[in-house]
């Protein structure tokens, strides 16, 4: 293990948030070892550039996995089945007792399923949503703390729906014991949540673990956990199973340390790193929620993700979804598939229809990629564009297009664009601003806070009032790209913007920071 660059909590608490961001940026500057994104033409986020970017066998594995490919997530859906309620560790950001249908975060579900119920649900969903390509088991506890239920579910599904990819998400404590079973089920993707590689840091995140018939606490617990996680990761890599590392960014506890985590997992062959913001509202009843531990701001999160981007892909499209989520990332159709409703459904699993549909999706997706490439060559004419870089928020329902009404958006996707091109850098959840056709002032403020670091917001349509308020806040509301490809539009806007700056029509100013929304997510 590399020496820790961990900074004591007391030390951090005394500094302001702004200083913390500065410090993070310094850390980033020192970490250039892993190279930054822009010049190498490296995909920004979970392999968005497609096949040219990676070995064919890897591309084959990720191309229709929404969590492993940023680009795939616009087109393909996933589902989680909640067959694994037990957990073998306790995390300070998790409280399993809290369970609300409007809540979107890991560890929360509305109903547990038996493996048999889960297998039936998968067939029902796959028949209704043909672009559903991936089944994951992510809890609500830890899949490998419930190995019998998890593997029974895999067994049933691999028999009835062999075209569905299987994956799981674990804390890693029990992973080394199960890697061979995972390999035998042809599981291509395993996610491990790694929040630290230093037990000194870990003791502030994990109050205890249950291991070898004993409860361990403090440094001992964190030491065992990190050793098992790293061992499990190495074993996955040795078997050619792609691994994604999830890390929760907890300001003052592991924010700077995550750069070191990134190095550690990269050196052990991890494919993708997903740094997520801490969710910690007091009403969740977690230790962090109750002791006032804050989550990162949007710019703090982005700075850390930028720092870790390099030879390793960063995932920025994670929606921190529930352990029973169904649908495209960012949408949740789980309410359509409760056990009662599934029992009433007549399920016909038709692999051919699914295949035909997915071929259409593939064509659509290639059109998106082609549109982006075409626009990229235009960009070259701008030279360095005076070093201007913009963030643009986009209201979209999927298919890689600007196709959502401002007032209906439950989230905005954020694209960064400069002279080198455009890339997806994240998303911001917002409360539904428009409910029943009339705008609510408060929610508009929430939206503005969430995209306050953006220069423009692209929408399919927008009303007059929010338009004026956005302008007042310095965010340009743009509806002229309605129903066009996102990245193409982003680049076109950028070229126009730079043109106007050059003509002296506008002055380029950088924007401030933005909030990451906490609390319950009202899905529809």
């Amino acid at each position: 293990m590399q020496p820790s660059s961990y900074v004591g909590i007391e030390q951090i608490q005394r500094t302001g948030q702004a200083q913390q961001l500065d410090r993070l940026l310094n850390e980033i500057a020192e970490h250039k070892g892993c190279g930054t994104s822009s010049d190498g033409g490296k995909a920004s986020c979970g392999s968005s550039d497609g096949p040219a970017d990676m070995a064919p066998e890897v591309w084959e594995k990720v191309k229709n996995h929404p969590c492993y490919s940023e680009e795939a997530h616009h087109h393909y859906a996933r589902m989680h089945v909640a067959v694994a309620p037990a957990c073998n560790i306790q995390c300070n950001y998790c409280n399993r007792k809290y369970d609300c249908a409007n809540e979107s975060r890991p560890g929360v579900v509305s109903e547990k399923l038996t493996p048999e119920q889960a297998a039936k649900k998968v067939l029902a969903v796959a028949s209704t949503i043909p672009q559903m390509t991936v089944l994951g088991i992510a809890g609500p506890g830890d899949p490998l703390a419930n190995p019998d239920k998890t593997f029974k579910t895999f067994e049933l599904i691999s028999k009835t729906a062999p075209d569905i990819k299987l994956c799981l998400s674990t804390n890693g404590l029990a992973l080394p014991d199960h890697v061979d079973t995972i390999a035998n089920f042809n599981v291509d993707h395993v996610t491990i949540t790694v929040n630290m590689v230093d037990p000194e840091v870990g003791q502030h995140i994990y109050p205890w673990i249950y291991y070898k018939k004993k409860r361990w606490t403090g440094i001992d617990a964190a030491k065992i956990l990190t050793e098992r996680q790293m061992q499990g990761l190495e074993m996955l890599t040795a078997r050619g199973i792609l691994s994604k590392i999830n890390s929760v960014m907890i300001p003052g506890i592991n924010d700077q340390h995550l750069v070191e985590v990134n190095r550690a997992v990269k050196s052990r062959g991890a494919f993708l790193h997903n740094i997520m913001p801490l969710i910690s509202a007091p009403e969740h009843g977690t230790v962090f929620g109750l002791n006032g531990q804050r989550g990162p701001t949007a710019q703090e999160l982005k700075a850390l993700q930028d720092a870790c981007e390099g030879e390793m892909n960063m995932m920025r499209h994670c929606r921190q979804c529930r352990a029973d989520a169904v649908g495209l990332l960012g949408e949740d159709r789980s309410a359509e598939f409760t056990t009662d409703k599934i029992d009433a459904m007549e399920v016909v699993y038709d692999a051919d229809t699914r295949k035909a549909y997915q071929e259409l999706v593939e064509q659509e997706r290639q059109a998106t990629v082609a549109a982006k490439e075409a626009e990229k060559s235009e960009l070259a004419k701008l030279a360095d564009a005076e070093g201007i870089s913009l963030l643009i928020a986009v209201a979209t329902k999927g298919q890689g297009k600007v196709n959502e009404h401002f007032g209906h958006a439950s989230e905005f996707q954020i694209y960064e664009v400069d002279a080198k091109g455009s890339k997806f850098v994240g998303h911001r959840r917002v409360d539904l601003y428009c409910q029943g056709g009339y705008g609510e002032e408060d929610s508009l403020e929430t939206v503005i806070r969430a995209i306050n670091d953006c220069h423009a917001v692209f929408v399919a349509k927008i009303g007059g009032c929010p338009k004026d308020d956005l302008k007042k806040a310095g965010i340009d509301p743009v509806d002229k790209y309605a129903h066009q490809h996102i990245e193409q539009s982003v680049i076109a806007y950028f070229m126009d913007y730079v043109g106007r700056v050059r003509a002296g029509e506008i002055t380029h100013q950088s924007r401030g920071d933005a909030d990451i929304r906490q609390g319950a997510f009202i899905a529809a």
């Binding site: 309620p85 037990a86 957990c87 073998n88 306790q90 399993r96 007792k97 547990k112 609500p140 506890g141 703390a145 419930n146 019998d148 249950y210 018939k213 004993k214 409860r215």
Partner: protein, 73 residues
């Protein structure tokens, strides 16, 4: 004595069930219950009572004072 599970605190997560060396734990109405006749407080098996060690909610698996302390045979 035997251990019991405070039903109002139990999340029904099942973490305790497979860990019990006496198969004394079973599910009832969505929560888990310990059969006091089978519970040995893990004496003779483990240093820690396994249900207590595995349970995610503090003070949920507790000693049931309605029963005499378990005596190892």
């Amino acid at each position: 004595m035997a251990y019991k599970i405070v039903a109002s605190q139990c999340t029904g997560c099942s973490a305790c069930e497979p860990e019990c060396p006496n198969q004394a734990i079973f599910e009832k109405n969505g929560v888990f219950v310990i059969d006091p006749k089978k519970c040995t407080e893990c004496i003779g098996y483990f240093d820690d009572a396994q249900c207590v060690a595995a349970c995610p909610v503090d003070k949920t698996c507790i000693i049931d004072t309605g029963y005499p302390r378990y005596q190892a045979a």
